[in-house]
């Protein structure tokens, strides 16, 4: 599955996109990221960070993931 990072989170991740192994939930994805890069894992828990699953906002971190899913971590938005 594809994991995308936007704004300052991409700076922390060192890239804008990362491939993750097939994982069952966003919580599991977080655990995998924590193990790979603890600093990034912490940043993804920052204030105002929102998650989109296949381009829809999700609040439930136990929502189940499927292969080919796109998960995006987004810091506070600033349009206009």
């Amino acid at each position: 599955m594809r994991v995308l990072f936007f704004g300052r989170l991409a700076d922390v991740a060192g890239k804008r996109e990362r491939q993750a192994p097939a994982l069952e939930t966003i919580a599991a994805l977080r655990a995998w990221i924590d193990a790979e890069d603890a600093v990034l894992g912490e940043a993804l828990r920052g204030k105002g960070v929102r998650i989109a699953l296949n381009k829809s906002i999700v609040h439930d971190e136990n929502a189940s993931l499927s292969e080919g899913d796109e998960i995006a971590f987004m810091p506070p938005l600033s349009g206009g």
Binding site: M74, P75, G79, G80
Partner: protein
């Protein structure tokens, strides 16, 4: 109409084309957001292709539900912008001036807090991500309260 583009935004020309579709509208309100100078050499806007457009469409839908509008126009830039460049153009056509003006105000408040863009300023001392301002969130919250009354 919604456009998310990296091409320069000619807000006067876009408004002229939009006004030509006015039909029986009596009121056209617009807002153009411009890159401020003041030490900024470049403003870079990142977006999330697909998601950004659908979120803007959702915001536009809210405005169309809430105000009596004939048409709306939202054009938003992404990529690298220079001071003086237009970042965003929002316009609303209505038969009534109050609806047109309020819709533009509403759309800007929502774009500021809900449109998926991330802004980075380049200055002499380096590059800085811009976080949304507290008063932008307050302005948006005021609309939620007014919809409950």
């Amino acid at each position: 109409m919604i456009r998310v583009q990296s091409e320069p935004l000619d807000s006067a020309q876009s408004l002229a084309a939009f006004q030509a579709r006015a039909h029986n509208a009596g009121a056209l309100a617009s807002f153009t957001g411009l890159v401020r100078g003041g030490g900024v050499s470049k403003l870079v806007l990142e977006h999330y292709p697909g998601f950004t457009e659908s979120e803007i469409a959702r915001i536009e839908g809210e405005a169309r539900k809430r105000f009596d509008l004939i048409d709306t126009l939202i054009i938003h830039r992404f990529g690298a912008l220079a001071p003086g460049d237009a970042i965003v153009l929002v316009a609303a056509l209505s038969t009534h001036r109050r609806a047109a003006l309020e819709a533009v105000d509403f759309l800007m408040d929502y774009l500021k807090t809900e449109a998926p863009f991330w802004k980075r300023e380049e200055r002499a001392d380096g590059s800085h991500w811009i976080e949304p301002r507290a008063d932008d969130r307050i302005a948006r919250s005021a609309w939620e309260e007014s919809s409950e009354s």
